[in-house]
């Protein structure tokens, strides 16, 4: 069988109509391609054939152009929903037909209004037999087909149990109808209504389960819903609205206030505040200017701007997030493996139990044996439900992973979700994790006739020529205050000490205490101030002009506003928090103290971080490592759960167990909270499914009969079975309302 697929590609770097032929040739050269047509105006290509899309993209790239698949994820979701609705309606119809036939019969049985199996009563039952056969075929046919096909493949599934249970009931009843004498008079009970009602209940359960299942994937639907349908592109100087699928790479797009950004790109003109909360969970709008990246699906709040599309279709951050969440929802943690092993052998074991039940009642049961044998065997087959067992883990993972995504926490797989809740120690990198990772001027302490503005202006003027990372912070601070800078002459960097130059003809020294001492500058009270700042984790630098001290400029990597609260949340969860950093011990201890971190391991080379994590693991800790995903990569990989701090577009998404899109440490506590709630939910599901089966099957087999004379009605068993999977799905749905304690 060979099926042809259609792909739409966006082609980049096509500068002339002549390129059309070479792109078409490149596409047609790919084995399996049946047709390829390039549209030069839209910079797209329509390709059909039995071929993988990547082969097409590779061929176009090899020919010297760019290509990406144009794809509408939303269409997929709509199609899926439509298919589910059709199936739901079909199930409802089948339930209704079986219910309309079964309910009156069951009610007649309940009130003792069933005709006897003689005279006109037999005609009544013959009609019932035919109608119930029709119902079994119409409403339950798929169980019989499925059971037979599975049997041929040496497999047994739910269909096997349902088909055997209801089929036996119908067959046995029909045999009694034809040959009443084959069983004693008191055993001449007919089970047509039981077979029909069981089929109705199972269809009803499947329909309700289908509805409930739809809700479990709401998180991903919400993400898919963020994708916009149209975009405003600038073509030939005109702004036109086109479907999102037709936006090409490197095209220029216009976004107005209040509009959603269509695809990923870089602003080329204008600025605005953009609400990225839907992608990153970050509640405050982010200011963006020319050269800044924008993410598709986010909301432009204020200004109008133009941007160039850098990622389209499946390559956008949103599409990748959707794909990652989808993959994580599909993965199974180890907690579900035992249930999988059991469900794999469950049905044949139930078949054996059913035969054993038959033998026990046949050999030791009271009279009328045939009635008891049929009733118990049928009930065992009907009540057993491996589906609840198999569904217990994946359905909760689906909701849990989606819930985490709502909080800006992207979890790579089910195993990471399971492990996150077991973390006993969280190891934090300092720069970029606890702190913002962007040094800034924190204190200006002028002396004598100097004021803050003058002090900063001179410091920034001398640092303009410096390449030191702290220099950038000082120049930025001066820029933000709109200070006028002078040019520095004779700039000289004194390694390890600071810099010197002439600014406006005056001799300026800027650096540490040693630099000042070497030039015999009198510092007065400034060293005491400097010591106080250093103890607070800041880096103080002295400024001297024409041989006299002017003041101190202190620079620090500011601590993120919510780091302290996030660490407190981790403590509340009983987790030890350790800082692991390459920075000097004084700065590290100062930062740790302000945030409330329990232990500091400072002056660690990036290569040694992994060994420190391993040492913690060796001492019995389950370690969660939080870093920026680049320098900390080995430690992230080594940890039981690696958390990468990064924006939605960061490459870190690809490399960690968990990505915190918001960049806040609250994400770690959120992930741990969601993990614990999800694992608890899975355990409830597994416990419920195990208990249901391990109590239900013996009761159905009649274990309570010798003591209490209790036997389960097969209709009750059918109802219980239908409800068991639904209960699991409904319990998983409870996770949708979960809110991690203390989350922001």
């Amino acid at each position: 069988m060979s099926e042809s697929k259609r792909y739409n590609l966006s082609i980049g770097s096509m500068s002339c109509a002549g390129c059309v032929a070479s792109v078409e040739r490149a596409l047609q050269s790919v084995p399996g391609v049946e047709s390829a047509a390039v549209n030069f105006a839209e910079h797209t290509a329509a390709v059909s054939g039995n071929v993988a899309v990547q082969a097409l993209i590779d061929a176009v790239v090899a020919a010297g152009y760019e290509a990406a698949e144009l794809h509408g994820t939303e269409d997929e979701a709509v199609e899926k929903e439509a298919a589910e609705l059709t199936y739901y309606r079909a199930l409802k119809k089948k339930t209704l037909v079986a219910g309309v036939v079964g309910a009156p019969l069951a009610l007649m049985g309940l009130f003792g209004a069933m005709p006897m199996l003689e005279g006109s009563g037999r005609i009544f039952w013959a009609i019932v037999a035919v109608i119930s056969l029709f119902v079994l075929v119409y409403s339950g046919g798929r169980f019989f087909t499925g059971a037979w096909k599975a049997f041929k493949g040496h497999n047994a599934n739910m269909d096997t149990l349902i088909a055997l249970g209801t089929g036996t009931a119908w067959l046995f009843s029909t045999l009694i109808l034809i040959w009443p004498g084959m069983v004693p008079e008191e055993a001449r009970h007919l089970y047509f209504e039981a077979a029909v009602i069981i089929i109705a209940l199972i269809n009803l359960g499947a329909a309700l389960e289908m509805r409930a299942r739809g809700k479990t994937s709401e998180a991903i639907k919400r993400l898919i819903g963020l994708q916009v349908k149209t975009a405003r592109v600038v073509r030939d100087g005109k702004e036109i609205d086109i479907p999102i699928e037709q936006v090409g790479l490197n095209e220029t797009l216009r976004v107005r206030p209040g509009e959603k950004i269509a695809v990923d790109g870089v602003i080329i003109d204008g600025h605005s505040n953009i609400d990225e909360s839907m992608i990153s969970g970050e509640p405050l709008p982010v200011e963006k200017r020319t050269g800044d990246e924008v993410v598709g699906g986010t909301l432009n709040k204020s200004g109008s701007f133009l941007f160039t599309a850098t990622h389209i279709g499946k390559d956008t951050a949103l599409a990748r997030i959707i794909e990652m969440v989808r993959q994580a929802q599909n993965s199974k943690p180890s907690i579900g493996r035992m249930a999988d092993k059991i469900s794999a052998v469950f049905v044949p074991i139930v078949l054996l139990v059913a035969v054993m039940t038959f033998m026990v009642w046949f050999n030791f049961g009271p009279e009328p044996k045939s009635a008891y044998v049929l009733l118990t065997t049928m009930t065992v087959l009907i009540i057993a439900c491996p589906c609840a067992l198999g569904l217990a883990t994946p359905i909760s993972i689906m909701v849990g992973v989606g819930k985490a995504a709502e909080y800006g926490v992207l979890i790579r797989n089910g195993e990471a979700l399971q492990l996150a809740g077991q973390i006993t120690t969280v190891v934090l990198d300092k720069t970029g994790t606890v702190t913002k990772g962007r040094p800034a001027v924190t204190h200006l302490i002028p002396v004598g006739k100097w004021n803050e503005a003058k002090l900063l202006a001179v410091a920034a003027s001398i640092e303009t020529g410096s390449e030191h990372p702290l220099a950038e912070a000082i120049v930025t601070a001066a820029d933000q205050r709109d200070l006028t800078l002078s040019s520095a002459e004779g700039f000289e960097a004194i390694s390890g000490h600071g810099v010197q130059a002439k600014v406006d003809g005056r001799a300026v020294l800027f650096g540490n205490r040693k630099l000042m001492d070497d030039h015999a500058i009198t510092l007065g009270d400034l060293p005491a101030e400097a010591a106080r700042l250093a103890a607070n984790g800041e880096t103080p630098m002295f400024l001297a002009v024409d041989g006299a001290a002017a003041g101190i400029v202190a620079v620090a990597d500011p601590i993120k506003v919510d780091s302290k609260a996030a660490v407190a949340r981790l403590h509340k969860l009983g987790i030890k928090v350790v800082m692991l950093t390459g920075d000097n011990a004084v700065t590290a201890v100062a930062v740790a103290k302000r945030v409330g971190i329990d232990e500091v391991i400072a002056e660690v080379q990036p290569a040694d971080k992994s060994a420190k994590v391993a040492a913690l693991q060796a001492s019995g800790e389950v370690v969660g490592m939080v870093g920026d995903g680049i320098n900390d990569a080995p430690a992230l990989a080594r940890a039981d759960v690696g958390f990468a701090i990064g924006g939605g577009t960061d490459v870190a998404i690809e490399s960690a167990d968990v990505t915190l899109m918001r960049g806040s440490l609250h994400g770690v506590a959120d992930a741990i909270g969601i993990s614990k709630a999800t694992v608890r939910n899975i355990k409830q599901n597994l416990f419920g499914a195990f208990i249901y089966n391990s109590l239900g099957i013996p009761i159905a087999a009649g274990i309570l009969f010798p003591l209490f004379g209790i036997l389960l009605n097969p209709i009750v068993a059918g109802g219980a079975m239908a409800m068991s999977s639904l209960t699991v799905v409904t319990n998983a749905n409870r996770l949708r309302w979960f809110k991690p304690e203390g989350s922001k």
Binding site: A83, N157, N330, K332, S343, V345, M356, P386, C387, L389
Partner: protein, 120 residues
């Protein structure tokens, strides 16, 4: 006598269940080289469900789901840690790089649809 026969039949049935579902094996479809394998997901089964491929060959599995039941919407390769979504009526391709010899099971999430990929 009747009782003896019924018990004997019941025991034989139990023996048959054990033999059929655990001991004997379903028909295996052998695949030559790297040719793609078409698998139809319908009526509670994968057809074919047991596939034998040669060691060192790249395996291309094309799943087409015709079964609207939600159980069929995913196929899980537990040993390979891979799951493929199966939208109704669409053909989904899974390409596996050459695998080490052994048996790799695939199933729906609830282990009701089952199949295996045998690498020899």
């Amino acid at each position: 006598m009747m009782s003896f026969i019924v018990n004997l039949l019941a025991l034989a049935l139990m023996g048959f269940i054990v033999w059929w579902f655990w001991v004997s094996r379903a028909k295996v479809q052998q695949v030559k080289g790297s040719e793609p394998i078409e698998i139809i997901v319908k009526d509670g089964v994968y057809a074919p469900s047991n596939i034998e491929v040669a060691q060192g060959a790249r395996v291309t599995l094309n799943f087409t789901r015709l079964d609207p039941g939600p159980c069929a919407e995913k196929v899980v390769f537990s040993e390979l840690g891979t799951t493929l979504d199966l939208p109704l009526g669409e053909r989904q391709t899974l390409v596996l790089e050459p695998l080490t010899p052994g048996e790799y099971h695939f199933s729906c999430q609830m282990q009701m649809y089952r199949g295996s990929l045998i690498v020899k």
